[in-house]
Amino acid sequence: MNLKQTLSARSGVSDRIRDWWAGAPMWTRWLVYLLLLLFVVFVLPTEGVASIMSPQTDWITTLWDPIGIYILLALGLNIVVGQAGLLDLGFVAFFAIGAYSVGVLGREGWPFWGTVVAALAIAAISGIVLGAPTLRLRGDYLAIVTLGFGEIIRIVARNTTYIGDSRGISDLPRPPSMFGLDFNDVLDASAFYYLIVAMIVLVIVISVRLNKSRVGRAWAAIREDEDAAELMGVPTFKFKLLAFFVGAMVGGLAGTGQMGGVQGYIQPENFPFILSATILVCVVFGGSGNIPGVILGAFIIAWLPERFRFLDDYRYMLFGAVLVIMMIVRPEGLLPSRQRKAEMQEGTGGMGSMGAEVATPTTAAPEVGGK
């Protein structure tokens, strides 16, 4: 297949870049980080870029939502799916919990940053509440339970009068002006854009630190073989719970970063199942477990439908086709990590032991045949 060859040639390039990066000295890395940040702050949101990237919609608004929001959500889900290997199909629940916490507490008169701190705590706790009873399940079963959780949150929101039922909450608190950014301008999303860039940078730093620590090693071990991880003395349950905790917190952060849009309102239908699925697509499409890959994946998934707005609804057909082709020719994602690639080759599918463990005395037999 021609396409496949072209793509694998490109994978050679990305391998080389990764190797160069792995060997690059500290100052080079910091220089690259700085250049990227300058690019994101000063070049990306300018008119010139906008005319190429998004001729039909307001580029800065698009950069903030969906692109920024998707990247933030994908980074959060990447901790759960990419690093710990737990398939979560209800990630949007934490996004909703973050947004609703800001909305409800703001209505009670809390200052904006107070609501953010509380929202993070509430989201993280709900991660624990979801995880504690369900993380004993594996693979498909965990996916089904998390999917249910996502739906429960949305349906509860729609049917609870206190939080505005299907009308949702309007007049969400806005961040106070800072660094010359005005969050009250309904026509200009640039303040929100810079806020979400700051949030993304923060989450990247936390993700990278975690990944390089003992926690990251434990997650990798759980993802690759949970039983073996336990046999190495990794308290697997605790670490899975921690992954849910951190992931939920990032999801909640994205919820507070959304602030109900520039218009300042949220409603239950902003948090459909399809959003959970799309964010999962961002992670897998980009390269599950690899932070640059996940960011690139989220960017492309969020941006493509906006860019091809002129195709009307046909763009979604095209979008679907792109996804199908990608998964056939490059199942490991656009920019996979080396470790993830090796896992894929070994045949665990790159997402931990996705196959459910059916408890029978002969559990091992089919596994052995598979290898």
Partner: protein, 255 residues
């Protein structure tokens, strides 16, 4: 007695996989548990290492009741397991796999790493290779090496011969003997009864969740019932009688 299992029952849902298994492992021994596919060998090991909860019965290790201790804490007590189907970390390099073995303990690892590389020179040649890209035999070596990195008092091996060529099986079994000689107690579960009985001091035979026989391994090698069920009948009588630890007979059994 280093490890003592008394009348353990283990259920998978409603199915009773172990119906009262008892066995003992003394310090310095090599003990083997043989039996057919599905008899409960792996379940027994998993229950000892804490991957499976037991319904009733008792596991005592080093004089301490560990029946309710979670798996990751049993590692610290000195129970190291090389899991079934090798179960290495495919995306990690050989070196990273071995480091995972020492996850639960602190301190300098260079000496322990050197010891593993000394037992398995093959692993030393492939430190930077991803575990998942190695051959079956190498993965088995890595799984055993990784278990050794936990500094076990008793090493549990789940079918080390599975899916390997006869030459490699011999090599692995020789190394197991060497590990034991260096002072680690070994409990090995095997379908390959011939090899396992030649290696072990004592043996247990498990059938559908129950221990049906226990005796010194050499006795079982000549036991007519065991021969009929696990050693391919009488065809190999003479060979088996003259058997030493280094065995050239191809494997019997079904795997």
């Amino acid at each position: 007695m280093l490890l003592e299992i008394e009348d353990i029952h283990v259920h998978y849902g409603k199915i009773e996989a172990l119906k009262g298994v008892s066995l003992q492992v003394d310090e310095g021994e090599i003990v083997t548990l043989i039996g057919a596919n599905g008899a409960g060998k792996s379940t027994t090991l998993k229950t000892i290492s804490g991957l499976r909860p037991l319904t009733s019965g008792r596991i005592t290790f080093d004089g301490k009741d560990i029946s309710k201790v979670p798996g990751h804490k049993r590692v610290l007590l000195g129970i190291g397991q090389s899991p079934e189907g090798r179960g290495i970390f495919p995306g990690m390099t050989v070196e990273e796999n071995l480091h995972m073995g020492a996850y639960a303990r602190k301190g300098d690892l260079t000496k322990d790493m050197a010891e593993v590389y000394d037992l398995f020179p093959r692993l030393g040649e492939r430190k930077k290779q991803a575990g998942g890209t190695m051959s079956g035999g190498e993965q088995q070596m890595l799984a055993i090496g990784r278990a050794l990195m936990t500094k076990p008092k008793v090493l549990l091996l789940d079918e080390p011969s599975m899916g390997l060529a006869p030459m490699l099986i011999q090599q692995i079994f020789k190394i197991i003997e060497e590990i034991n000689r260096r002072g680690t107690t070994v409990l090995v579960v095997e379908q390959n009864a011939q090899q396992a009985l030649s290696l072990a001091h004592r043996a247990y035979v498990i059938e559908t969740g129950k221990v049906v026989k226990s005796a010194p391994a050499a006795e079982l090698l000549t036991d007519p019932e065991v021969r009929a069920a696990y050693l391919g009948g009488d065809l190999a009588v003479d060979e088996a009688a003259n058997d030493t630890a280094v065995d050239t007979t191809p494997r019997n059994g079904q795997d």
